[in-house]
Symmetry: C2
Subunit: 410 residues, 2 copies
Amino acid sequence: MPELFNVLPPAEAYALFLRHFRPEPCSETVETTDALDRVTAQSILSPSDLPSFTRATMDGYSVRATDTFGASEGAPAYLKVAGEVPMGATDPVGVGVSDAAVAYTGGMLGRGADAVVMVEHTQQVDATTIEVVRPVAPGENCVQVGEDIRRGEELLPAGHRLRPQDIGGLMALGITTVDVSRRPVVGIMSSGDEVIPPDRAPELGQIRDINSYTCKALVERAGGEPRLLGIAPDRREAMEELARAGLGQADVLVLSAGSSVSSRDLTAEVIISLGKPGILLHGISIHPGKPTILALAGRKPVFGLPGNPVSAMVLFELIVAPTIKRLLGQADPDAYSNVQARLTRRVASAPGREDYVQARLETRAGELRAEPVFGKSNLIFTMVKASGMIHVPLDRSGIEAGEMAEIRLF
Amino acid sequence: MPELFNVLPPAEAYALFLRHFRPEPCSETVETTDALDRVTAQSILSPSDLPSFTRATMDGYSVRATDTFGASEGAPAYLKVAGEVPMGATDPVGVGVSDAAVAYTGGMLGRGADAVVMVEHTQQVDATTIEVVRPVAPGENCVQVGEDIRRGEELLPAGHRLRPQDIGGLMALGITTVDVSRRPVVGIMSSGDEVIPPDRAPELGQIRDINSYTCKALVERAGGEPRLLGIAPDRREAMEELARAGLGQADVLVLSAGSSVSSRDLTAEVIISLGKPGILLHGISIHPGKPTILALAGRKPVFGLPGNPVSAMVLFELIVAPTIKRLLGQADPDAYSNVQARLTRRVASAPGREDYVQARLETRAGELRAEPVFGKSNLIFTMVKASGMIHVPLDRSGIEAGEMAEIRLF
């Protein structure tokens, strides 16, 4: 029986893959309002100053600041109310020496005014006169032209995943369409004579396909566009046909197949048949997930994930998701959510192997605790019961109860 | 000028709202494969045992464990190979006393077998005989029937937001459709004579609508279905008409309006006109975001958010998003992502007020640091430059540089 060759630690395995992988993100233009979670295709510069006019941040009066210098309760400054600047007015009243104009939060100042006196610091003397009892500095209670962002300033870098405030910032500048990376299409294929579609009732010895559906959801999470190819039987021709057709319409191909040696060999043969350079690495020193294949068919990544659904998910998170993010041109393709938590029980590992152990998180006495989820590591419901995975680094033989550990969230 | 009444701290303000709010989630049935991030409408029990047959976790031979007891390198057990159980076989070969059947990882055992001997612990003697050099216990190298999940066991609770593994778990059991909460429709309306649609070029004194678009994206994030109603001018009749029409087709109404006192008064009047019980609270002791209105028109939540886009986002996160999650029946509507980080500079606050200060996060010397983002708190680009908000609790007058603080992520 052939053994796995080139077994490398996860980081080295992926680094080896990346030395051969040349992602070429494509861009497309979408409406900014529909661009949540899309990734910017290039750096976006501000086409104008924001705000485009000086705005009051308080209700009160716009004034020339010098007219208020020295004003106090005992010696107020008397100003003439020249009028008001209503919200949305496009031709503001002029504010000359010793003039004031009624100003509203968010509104414009009178022409010639350079500061706003809060209404609380004024007294109405008569219909057209106010007392100002505190001085204001130039610019006080105002947002200056370009104070939010200046024309030509970088608004967003390339490779940035758009959040609600980014969409707001684009709209504020009239950028109603935005160039984003096209979502890479990820073909997903399961194989195995025992695997049946979930809508069928399994006979003895048959199991329903899980990996097509967890992978589909994980592709969506990563920002890709999943395409389910279906289930191939354990025959080389049938697998090759499905894989080849799938790869033709996709940017990435993900196969999950059984973990028996014969099934692994078959998957490897099928991947080799898809084209050069072919298999870059077969086997990663990780648990679960060792029998994983990293390959390229031309420029397209092809991943052979283990059939075990837990392994498939772990490897997807570590290898496939960062690859999708690279195809999106995302600036931080390897970022992930994690927390530090105290283990409630020991988790064992083997030195020279990275382990991921499902864990339930809970806060006890104000501290985050990670409770390892018992059960064999290949059971899907250990994942369902977990909210993250305890990461046991390569050089550790386990992590003791009471120690802090990194929990990778999902 | 009327002052804000009932100014309460954020938690008390929302608690007051919740005493009047009776969310009634509605459910709908969707395809499980399309249900990522949807919320389960009820608890789901497993309709069957998983796995439904005992599965090998190793390549090797299925045997009767008792036949291997005492086996060693020096005194191997000799077993007859009765055949193999191919993947997907539905009628497995029988394994009698002193028999073995070839078994594959993930496959079925021979009928009568109760354990699997790893291939590494066997030697082929001749075409039909093997030596077993180590004993196995009953159940060894197997996953038992129901070991993943048992028939009748709770698969997922009600109010659970579906993750990739949950979808996999449902599919594994043949649950191809799932009852989830209908997405609440959230009507979003901006108002202000100065506010124009983003595709128009502003004249002096005009600003483009930001809040409609940040709120739309935030509604999507929270699991709701946004409906943009447009921009109303600062006239009561026009605002009322738009608000009433919007509320008619929505489960929640979010208005954002200017922060000037007159504009706040107008918003309050419009909200009162929508029906009883009306305004529950007007004003929250929070910065930014004080002039916020929490109201109910019949059973429907109506929120008056400040026009300032930063305030609107903060209040959306604290009040509107948890309300949408309650309408979804989500079990943890108030959960949010946060981290602890060390402040690089002091942030000031006022005791008796909760402050949220935008911050950039970066890891320096292995430690997470939060750098406050400078600029007036009402500038949208302070949000764009930030990855979270420093939370200054009610009873603090600030947080010193070098102190740890909670950062709410967005």
